[in-house]
Point group: C2
Chain length 415, copies 2
């Protein structure tokens, strides 16, 4: 695109006023049509993606980045199903969240309205182009999607398919803008456009998020790393704690809700740790244990200080013995990331201490950290998991892409 | 205070963990004790305030600033009553906003928790020191209050009385920190402390708010100016529209929800404007009218372009004739401030167009703009009126000083 960021953002603002007033039916029709079209255009999408992958391989991108960049027939099927799911979700726009008749006689409503224009900044994963558009459209927002250069061809093809669908439905094409330039200059310019952009959501490495937070005049919702802990209390059910901890580490190690560190009550360590070690070993997980835990896990490596508070995003886990829930809480206060923290315990007082003492977007009692996810928590879909406390804390679904305003109806009350 | 901003903020963070777990009863007891103590200490408070006023007068502060700086016996009574009102409001902390049993068997709760540490940056008005503390305490937050230098003595006295009360109740003194230094350096340092401060609320001139928004790494909730319009449709009830418009301008001209501009449908102008002009004239309001309106308001001055979109904060009002609701909407899109916009009409379709077309934190139908106020809208109290869309849009009460987190209870579900 040769348009400047400010031109793009201003056109998105104009489109957002149209989207804010769209009936639910029109939004759903578009999403379902787009789902069908993604399946029709599989070959074209996969060809663009193959070109991105080839360029990325010759540029020497890491294998984990290549994995995130890659689309497949089944991942396109999944994108299409995601669109159908968003179409099936309730429309948050226009919902009345409060209604009150005041002593003055005024009828006061609080009504959900779209935020306006949402700017998403992300790396690799081209599927985000479709997912983010769908959530923004359903919540009545225009979106500006700034993907990474490595996914430029895939993103342009997907955004083009979205725009074709918008055109067929006589909706504004500026409901989506896909920007693929790389420069931090362009990004810095976008981040100054507070008149036309209402929210910035950066998703990517910590360095990107810090750059965005430091340079933005627009409100930013941060999705920092997830350094999630599981505290295994002395009253935990060991037989069931072992498969739970194993799955929390291994079922999707590259996700932000995977467990990175297991804190084990000293009283349960002799019975628990050898069995945990065996389970982790046989799943190919590398264990980095503090000195006390290492005594019960002979095949482990000694943990260095930097292994605590670290998001491995890989088949590596840190293990530490603690004297009790207080020490678990203070470990999490020092090393946690306000993302997801779990306790396995049957002691009510201990669970209560943990809930009160831990500051995180999701506190989990007797389940895996990996349940902190928009689908698992009943939001239906998510655009990310916020570790900022303002506006949204935890998974962000459709409602979190709206705000509420007041609507007041009177009978000529003066004041 | 000789402590650095980062030391102050870190102690506030530690205090916030204690405040987050305080029972409602302890918070209310403190607020009621503090209310009584403000009345006991009236003389001391007024003496400090007199010293601030004297210094401000010799420094040549404007009369409107002096008015905002001044405390009186009755304004202290009002502060005390405000504390009693906050004590009587429901405690938002711990409220369960959603509860859902998922197919996985997980019980998913969304629970209100305090934000943590709130930093308020304000000018003049020393009463904010007490009001902001009360709202932060009741919502479980610690507060850092950076008032203006002109109110330093008043603020220190008030903060001292708050801390004495905290001490008597064995609560952490760091629940409140009052900083009176002026330098932008100190402010810039505060705005970098994203580890220990969760929210910044600047209240003051536009220049201050822009400085804070541009320099903060912490989320900022903006309270920009209120440029509020009343659109008098051709179907408006003229007899009742006149006292309504008059009160919206004159009942408190220095507040952000006062009307700054009346937009009048051309068909109703001949009947409405001469009577409006007479009412405004007799209340001493200066009228700045566009050419068409001026023809019906002979004593008015011609409006210049800069009179539209202007927050007069004084007994001055702009008046413009429009051809219909569409032109009113586009005037508001160009000149409004997303604060409060009112329509007087009995035509349902026109009202609907206005509601859909106007982007503002509060849309008022057939009542004064001045009802956009936390008390009038049923929030019980307010810490300000946000014109940002993120987190809070409109008046901010206790709930808006909290966030929700997820609490998940399972039975060893693995994933």
């Amino acid at each position: 695109m040769s348009d400047s960021p400010s031109q793009i953002a201003h056109r998105a603002r104009l489109a957002s006023r149209v989207l804010a007033a769209l009936p639910t039916r029109s939004k759903n029709d578009l999403l379902l049509d787009l789902a069908a079209e993604l399946l029709n255009q599989k070959v074209r999408i996969l060809n663009s993606n193959a070109a991105d992958l080839e360029a990325a391989r010759s540029a020497g991108l890491s294998s984990s980045k290549l994995r995130r960049l890659e689309l497949s027939e089944s991942s396109i099927d999944q994108l299409a199903r995601g669109l159908e799911q968003v179409a099936a979700l309730p429309d948050p726009v226009g919902q009345v969240t409060h209604e009150r008749k005041m002593p003055s006689g005024l009828l006061v409503l609080r009504v959900r309205v779209p935020l306006g224009v949402v700017c998403m900044i992300y790396e690799a994963r081209p599927g985000v182009t479709v997912d983010a558009f769908a959530l923004c459209l359903k919540s009545g927002n225009a979106c500006i999607l700034k993907g990474g250069r490595e996914a430029a061809r895939s993103n342009q093809t997907l955004a083009g398919i979205v725009q074709d669908a918008l055109g067929r439905h006589a909706l504004p094409l500026d409901a989506i803008a896909s920007i693929s330039t790389t420069g931090r200059d362009d990004l810095a310019e976008l981040l100054k456009l507070e008149q036309d952009i209402d929210l910035v959501i950066p998703r990517g490495g910590e360095e990107l998020i810090r750059f965005v937070s430091s340079n933005s005049r627009i409100p930013v919702i941060q999705h920092y790393k997830g350094v999630c802990h599981i505290f295994v209390d002395r009253s935990a059910d060991i037989d069931r704690a072992i498969p739970l901890c194993l799955a929390a580490k291994t079922s999707a190690p590259a996700t932000c809700n995977a467990a990175e560190c297991v804190l084990v009550h000293k009283d349960v360590a002799p019975a628990f740790l050898p069995r945990l070690a065996a389970a982790l070993d046989s799943a190919g997980v590398e264990i980095r244990a503090d000195q006390r835990a290492g005594a019960w896990m002979p095949a482990s490596k000694p943990a260095s200080e930097s292994d605590f508070g670290r998001e491995f995003l890989d088949l590596v886990v840190a293990v530490r013995i603690v004297d009790g829930v207080e020490q678990a809480i203070s470990h999490i206060a020092s090393y946690g990331s306000r993302h997801t923290e779990a306790i396995l315990s049957k002691d009510v007082a201990t669970i209560e201490l943990f809930r009160a003492g831990v500051d995180a977007s999701c506190v989990v009692v007797n389940a895996s950290t990996r349940f902190n996810d928009g689908f698992q928590l009943g939001l239906g879909a998510e655009i990310g998991i916020s570790t900022s406390k303002l506006h949204a804390y935890g998974p962000m679904g459709l409602e979190e892409l709206t705000t509420t305003r007041f609507e007041v109806v009177g009978d000529y009350q003066a004041r």
